[in-house]
């Protein structure tokens, strides 16, 4: 019953292009014979474990060599941009944070930067420094997932377990600082949802200590390992002109030798006052991208230390009560909500403050008409947000320039002409996050 001819689920079919066979494994010899050439078109994904979520690759093979590769995306399209048009500007944060789910704070950062630019306001110093610190913690977590899943896909399973172990530290820390492991919605237009907990400093110091101890292990485990190098060196080559033509930014561009980093070239939130390097390599291959990412983890640790040192007490939200929510949030037994004292205050203080609270939460604030493009350096490259307002309390357009989406276009250029196994390495080195690609 399970021979290819009678497969109940996908029998072979005659099409105008030729016969479509279903190969389930172990029956290859029944297909390949003298009348067929070696040219095979295969679908990899959308649920292949090596394709980073629901990415589908269509590969045309001649033997083991990839002659053409195309990626098919859209399996995780959730309409984030459209949804933002039906919510207030503040609610938009909770939508964009779900785009690139491995770097949620960067989505929030680019978005609130745009809203603040439209409003013509600037978050207080403490909020900016906390944002920088949280983003760099998030960058470490994102790069660790790239190393971990990349390692797993190439057979370095210990790289996976080690990477996810360290990433768990990142998530624990972010949960402690923001209240949520992922999809934090912690950055708000004008500042932050709330201040850090009282003993944030001890947690950060502990985190930095753990990472200084463990990061060396990655060099021992992967960097000099012959198999790791053989799988990555000279694979997925994309030189600098290819990067620019295809729009690749982030570690892909820096692995080709161009030290282009938004934090340096268009500094935001005081990045120009931090002492850190932009790591580059010249190999323009998967191994260079791996090295760049590991080096960036070290640089991020430096920024976190500096940010923690300079954090002064102060407000984390703008003074303007037309933008800042009146909420005083606290963690209760049933999740996050307003503190009881604050509820008592606004309920008892005056009718006007209650009305104001209600209007600001349900109606939102008006944003002057116009459009802005704001961008931050996410772990994957230039993450831009194009925001358009027509003067209302809801955006007319929110467009995310997702680096995953743009960088994934380089997959054919990196893989065509190489071996099938190298496609896996190339996709892993692009590090696409399908939540960001499909939005």
């Amino acid at each position: 019953m399970t021979t290819p001819e009678t497969d109940a689920y996908a029998p072979e079919r005659e099409t105008t292009e030729g016969t479509i066979y279903t190969v389930t494994g172990g029956d290859w010899d029944s297909i390949v014979d003298s009348e067929h050439d070696d040219r095979i078109v295969i679908n990899m994904g959308p649920q292949h474990p090596s394709t980073h979520g629901v990415l589908r690759l269509v590969l045309e093979l001649e033997g083991e060599t990839v002659t053409q590769a195309r990626s098919v995306i859209g399996y995780l399209h959730t309409g984030i941009e459209k949804n933002c048009e039906y919510r207030t500007w503040t609610q938009g944060v909770t939508f964009v944070t779900r785009a690139d789910y491995l770097a949620p704070l960067f989505n929030e950062a680019a978005y609130v930067m745009g809203v603040e630019k439209l409003l013509g306001i600037e978050a207080p110093q403490r909020a900016q420094t906390i944002r920088v610190m949280l983003m760099e913690i998030n960058r470490i977590g994102s790069h660790l997932v790239c190393l971990a899943t990349g390692g797993m896909e190439l057979g370095a399973l210990t790289g996976m377990t080690a990477g996810f172990r360290e990433r768990e530290e990142v998530l624990h820390l972010l949960e402690y600082l923001t209240g949520l492991r992922m999809n934090h919605a912690f950055f708000r237009p004008g500042g932050l949802a709330q201040d850090l907990p009282d003993d944030w400093r001890e947690k950060i110091d502990e985190f930095i200590k753990v990472f200084h101890e463990r990061l060396g292990d990655y060099d021992k485990l992967l960097t000099g390992q012959p198999i790791w190098k053989q799988r990555l060196e000279g694979v997925g080559y994309l030189p600098i002109d290819g990067c620019l033509a295809l729009g690749a930014t982030g570690p892909i561009l820096r692995s080709a030798g161009l030290a282009w980093d938004q934090r340096k070239v268009e500094p935001y939130w005081g990045y120009d006052t931090y002492d850190f390097e932009v790591p580059t390599e010249t190999g323009a291959d998967c191994y260079s991208r791996y090295l760049v990412r590991v080096a960036e983890i070290h640089e991020s640790l430096k920024i976190i230390e500096q940010a923690a040192d300079r954090l002064e007490p102060g407000p984390v939200m703008v003074e303007d009560r037309k933008v800042a929510w009146p909420a005083q949030l606290s963690i209760g037994s049933d999740g996050m909500g307003n503190t009881l004292e604050h509820v008592r205050k606004i309920m008892g203080q005056s009718m006007e403050s209650l009305i104001h609270h209600f209007k600001l939460v349900t109606e939102g604030f008006h944003v002057p008409a116009g459009q802005v493009y704001s961008c931050v350096e996410s772990p994957r490259g230039e993450l831009g947000v194009h925001l358009v307002s027509d003067g209302g309390t809801r955006p007319v357009r929110v467009h995310l320039r997702e680096p995953s989406f743009v960088n994934l276009q380089t997959m054919p250029a990196m893989s065509e002409g190489g071996m099938v196994a190298d496609v896996i390495a190339a996709v892993a080195s692009i590090d696409p996050v399908m939540g960001g690609v499909d939005r």
């Binding site: 309409g79 039906y86 070239v265």
Partner: protein, 291 residues
């Protein structure tokens, strides 16, 4: 810059009606002054500091006929709280807010904006492209060039290739639908980045499209910026804008057999009403809008 009926003659009428908003009118357009002394005007173009308000921001020969763009970017508003026909006697229902129209910038633009505008005008002149720029707007520290749809490919090529511009990277191509009632509602937006000069500009194309069944068209820029491939596919998928010359303009995010273009404003968000503790919460796009 091809046909001309005389100085100050056809401004405002040389294009179709633009929703009645024509704040800048004829004599403000450099296009109406050229006539036979076009070459002399090119020489002077962009070098008349006093002419800020009387010509299209010193764009010389690049200014299109008919003056500035003046396409509304948004809808007009009326009343407050989103209430209609309730017999509201508070007086708030009488409030009127006209649609936002991006204002043309005046010389001097300030900073590097003057340089990039002059360089773009000079480079386009050199390449023989005429009448490409409809308006320049500077808002919140960002410069926007409104480009005539049919010239967008040449402008992009000039932006990339001219040594004084060097916009090597096309960050994003996307579109904005300003709403069903807005004339010329569909705009295509290009964000370009010059890594050499560390400058960003926005190119905006206002499509001459009234929301009819026929899809709007404009040239594809994939041959200049290969990265625009997926961006344009996404814009086609989401907005139904056809990029002529794209190598394979197919849907990218939605399934191949999908009907409609989800990011258009007349495409519903979808969703179902939800009952919570006896009350029915309507889906998000049917809830009361306050703006």
């Amino acid at each position: 810059m091809t046909e001309r009926t005389g100085p100050g003659g056809t401004a405002g009428t040389s294009k179709d009606d633009k929703g009645g908003a024509e704040p800048t009118g004829g004599e403000q357009s450099s296009a109406d002054r050229s006539g036979t002394d076009e070459e002399a005007h090119v020489a002077n173009g962009g070098t008349e500091p006093e002419a800020g308000t009387t010509e299209l921001a010193g764009l010389g020969d690049q200014a299109v006929e008919g003056g500035t763009r003046s396409a509304p970017a948004g809808r007009a508003r009326q009343g407050m709280f989103g209430v209609r026909g309730s017999g509201d006697t508070s007086g708030f229902s009488g409030l009127r807010l006209p649609a936002h129209v991006p204002a043309p910038a005046e010389r001097p633009f300030g900073g590097w904006f003057d340089d990039v505008a002059d360089d773009l005008v000079a480079a386009l002149d050199e390449r023989g492209t005429r009448g490409a720029i409809q308006q320049v707007t500077i808002d919140r520290g960002e410069i926007t060039f409104y480009i005539a749809a049919e010239k967008i490919l040449e402008v992009c090529r000039t932006m990339r290739d001219d040594p004084s511009l060097r916009y090597e990277l096309c960050s994003a191509v996307s579109a904005v639908d300003y709403g069903v009632d807005v004339p010329e509602r569909m705009h295509v937006v290009y964000h370009l980045l010059s890594m050499t000069y560390r400058r960003r500009v926005r190119l905006e194309v206002v499509l001459d499209w009234d929301g009819g069944a026929e899809n709007p068209h404009l040239p594809s820029v994939v041959e200049v910026y290969p990265t625009a491939d997926w961006h344009e596919r996404e814009t086609w998928d989401m907005f139904g804008i056809v990029f002529d010359g794209h190598p394979a303009l197919t849907r990218i995010l939605m399934p191949d057999d999908w009907d409609g273009h989800p990011q258009r404003k007349d495409y519903p968000l979808g969703g179902i009403p939800v009952e919570y503790k006896g009350a029915e919460i309507p889906p998000p796009d049917e809830r009361r809008a306050y703006s």
